[in-house]
Amino acid sequence: MKEKKSIMDRIAESNKSVTTGIDEKDIKHWVKIHVMGKAYKVPAGLTIMQAMEFAGYRFIRSAGCRAGFCGACATIYRKAGEYKLHAVMACQTRVEDGMFLVQIPFAPADKAIYDINQQKYHVGTLLKYYPELARCVSCNTCTKSCPQDLEVMDYIQDAIKGDFKAVAQESFDCIQCGLCAVRCPAEIVQYHIAQLARRMFGRYGCQEPEHLNTRLKEIEKGKYDDAWDKFLKANIKELEKMYAAREREPD
């Protein structure tokens, strides 16, 4: 008698991996891609990263979070017959027929060393630490090479003006993949400059949160110490009761 499959088995079956769990005969749609000059036939619908794994690559470099946050899998590609060079994240981009691609290892870049506590919220700070900022020729290559679609050149112009807030807000979604810096003809390291600008804005450009300061003082003065004694001594039954008695603040 055939045993009925458990829910967990059914889930595992429908969740099977799109690279290791698939048989070639079950793949309906294929595309051809070129990885560092070699052609591979891979299933349509995979990401570049999954497609390379399907083809037999096991990553050491050029793979990190696999979710578009870490910038490790910066990749550039051209399609046959096109002049345009695309810059993308391999983990966030679907393979397309005729892609010629290469992954870009992280290029060396100098980061300024500074003590954030000793800085002045002054228009010249960014230029002081990164004088090459002034070399920007406004070619917009950085913007075009940003896989996060940030207006990189705009924030570099704001950085030259010393506008911390504008740089901080424009650059906030930067994942520091480094593609802007490797393509910049003026050899500016945009993502390091943006990092300094954000820290300057976060540290010196915002008002203090009063509630936090009050709470820190309360803790320091031992406001909760007596209650802690009671809480830490409570057994599970008592804790369950206290937990159930919590009132949810209104939405």
Binding site: I7, S17, A67, F69, A72, K111, I175, R198
Partner: protein, 552 residues
């Protein structure tokens, strides 16, 4: 090569199902199913992958012998070392450090800075990373960090929320340290210049998290972990603390008397080993998502393979709550390129509602994660009200357009730029259409047992972050993981610094404990077919592997 036809990112049949969701949206705007009672929760939890039978077994050797763990974890505990004692020359020391930190996410990097603050010179600290510095789950944290700093809140209420969420298994003193230091951590982040979402008057913007009774979630748009981490890493780099990349630890060293004295590293590219001697070692290697427990997809980064737990267990450290696995209710189920990736809980905090195939809201959106996830499984696999995808998955709609309806147009763009961008890359507009979700393997709730000072049960060995066990009990709440990393990164850095000031000169370094462990495996009759740590998962296609030959 005919391609599937998509209309704004979805195949035609899914479009028709989206129409059903669109029709009921107005009615659902001001309605939400009530939160479940304790009994209802217990009933639905039987369907949770962490409670459903068949996924776990007893550990057969070592200090937690007899305790249960997920099969995939026990497989690694019952695995042989990568190298034999005789293959390693321990006399040639490559790095002589006071403090060795293994793992450079939020926890490890915070630990380095605070050890330095506590007086350990930068050059006496060494941070080693398996991949790049920052290839960690930390930077993928989207939703937020909890800290009880609003007037109607307190660390005590935070404590109760986390206790209940953790099924009252949390270690009280450890949890107290977490919630009591939380406001200070927010203060530290501001001092470093982190851009945490704020109101006009400077107060934090604070949102709901699942299982909490106060709004205390601090976010940085939906790049919370990224912002916290990159600021902390920048500070680390300003201190010129030495670090290595692509250099995983493959074994700890001990002095033969139960004290940890460093580690064996391996250069991932050349496969050479290197020896680090250290007075104190902090393990901050993160979790185990890439073990794909019970076949689930995962939100975790490429290197989340449980290495640290394996190493610590061989060195004699006790584990706590290592049996419990957290599945995040809302992993992406469509499109197939992003299966398993995290859709932050903050989407639900801001009004997105889980909806079934018939357009019905079927669960309170902010139950604790395990309850929420189990209710999705029930809807898909028991009540058969899930939505099938072209690759055979079954999912639940997360009605994201409700966020805009409730909070005004433009909210998604402002609060969830990362999420919106991810779906846009696959032609889906989450402002206009719902997205499909299913639970995804998210977090290792337990691990190496810790105390309020970040100590493991082995002398000289500290732990911080996801690798540790005790603070979250059996289930972690949203916003307590980034907090855990920073609080216990800081605490372990401080106490490791105190420890090395008093510790005697480093003792001898040996792999005796590994040899003993291998003997125990043999005596238990475990065949030498598995080796650990595994370091990285293997996703190569079947056809490619079948033709692979070893020639080079």
């Amino acid at each position: 090569m005919s391609e599937v036809k998509y209309i704004k990112g979805y195949p035609e049949y899914m479009r028709e199902l989206i129409d059903v969701v669109n029709k009921t949206r107005i009615k659902r705007k001001d309605y939400s199913p009530p939160a479940m009672s304790k009994e209802e929760r217990q009933d639905v939890l039987k369907l949770h992958p962490d409670y459903a039978p068949g996924g776990k077994r007893k550990i057969s050797i070592g200090q937690n012998k007899g305790d249960i763990g997920p099969n995939e974890v026990v497989d690694l505990l019952e695995a042989y070392p990568l190298v034999e004692d005789e293959e390693i020359d321990l006399s040639a020391v490559d790095y002589d450090a006071e403090i060795l930190i293994i793992g450079g996410g939020l926890a490890g990097t915070s630990a380095a800075i605070w050890a330095n603050n506590q007086g350990v010179p930068a050059e006496k600290i060494l941070l080693v990373n398996k991949l790049r510095h920052g290839d960690a789950n930390s930077i993928m944290a989207e939703g937020g960090t909890q800290a009880a700093d609003r007037p109607n809140d307190s660390p005590l209420i935070h404590y109760l929320d986390a206790m209940g969420g953790g099924h009252f298994a949390n270690k009280p003193e450890v949890l107290k340290a977490l919630v009591e230091d939380a406001p200070y951590i927010m203060h530290w982040l501001l001092d470093l210049g982190a851009m945490i979402d704020r109101e006009e008057n400077g107060e934090f913007t604070e949102k709901w998290g699942g299982g909490t009774c106060r709004r205390r979630m601090h976010a940085c748009r939906d790049y919370t972990g990224l912002e916290e981490f990159r600021v902390i890493r920048d500070e680390f780099r300003n201190r010129k603390i030495p670090s290595l990349e692509f250099f995983p630890a493959i074994e700890l060293l001990t002095d033969g008397e139960g004290r940890v004295t460093g580690a064996v590293l391996c250069n991932l590219e050349t496969s050479e080993y290197e020896i680090v001697k250290a007075k104190a070692t902090i393990l901050a290697t993160g979790g185990f998502g890439r073990l794909h427990i019970r076949g689930f997809p995962t939100t975790n980064h490429y290197g989340a393979t449980c290495d640290g737990v394996v190493l610590a267990y061989r060195a004699g450290a006790k584990l706590k709550d290592a049996d419990t696995v957290q599945y995040h209710p809302t992993g992406a189920a469509f499109p197939p390129q992003i299966i398993g990736l995290l859709l932050t809980e903050k989407l639900r905090s801001m009004g997105a509602q889980p909806v079934n195939k018939d357009g019905e809201a079927f669960v309170f959106p902010l139950e604790p994660r395990d309850v929420e996830a189990a209710s999705f499984i029930r809807e898909c696999y028991v009540r058969n009200k899930g939505v099938p995808t072209p690759t055979g998955m079954i999912g639940i709609w997360l009605d994201t357009p409700l966020i805009e309806m409730k909070n005004g147009e433009g909210t998604i763009e402002k609060a969830f730029p990362g999420m919106k961008r991810m779906f846009e890359r696959f032609d889906i507009d989450m402002r206009k259409d719902p997205v499909l979700v299913f639970p995804t393997l998210h977090y290792q709730n337990g691990g190496v047992e810790t105390d309020p000072e970040g100590r493991s049960t082995v002398e000289g060995l500290f732990v911080a972050g996801e690798i540790s066990g005790g603070v979250h009990g059996k289930n972690r709440l949203m916003g307590n993981s980034t907090l855990d990393c920073m609080v216990f990164g800081r605490i372990s850095g401080i106490y490791a610094a105190e420890y090395v000031k008093k510790a005697k000169r480093k003792g001898k370094s040996s792999l005796e404990h590994v040899k003993k462990y291998a003997n125990m495996l043999q005596e238990a009759g475990i065949k030498p077919e598995r080796k650990a740590p595994i370091l990285l998962p293997d996703y190569r296609g079947k056809a490619a592997l079948a033709r692979m030959i070893d020639v080079f």
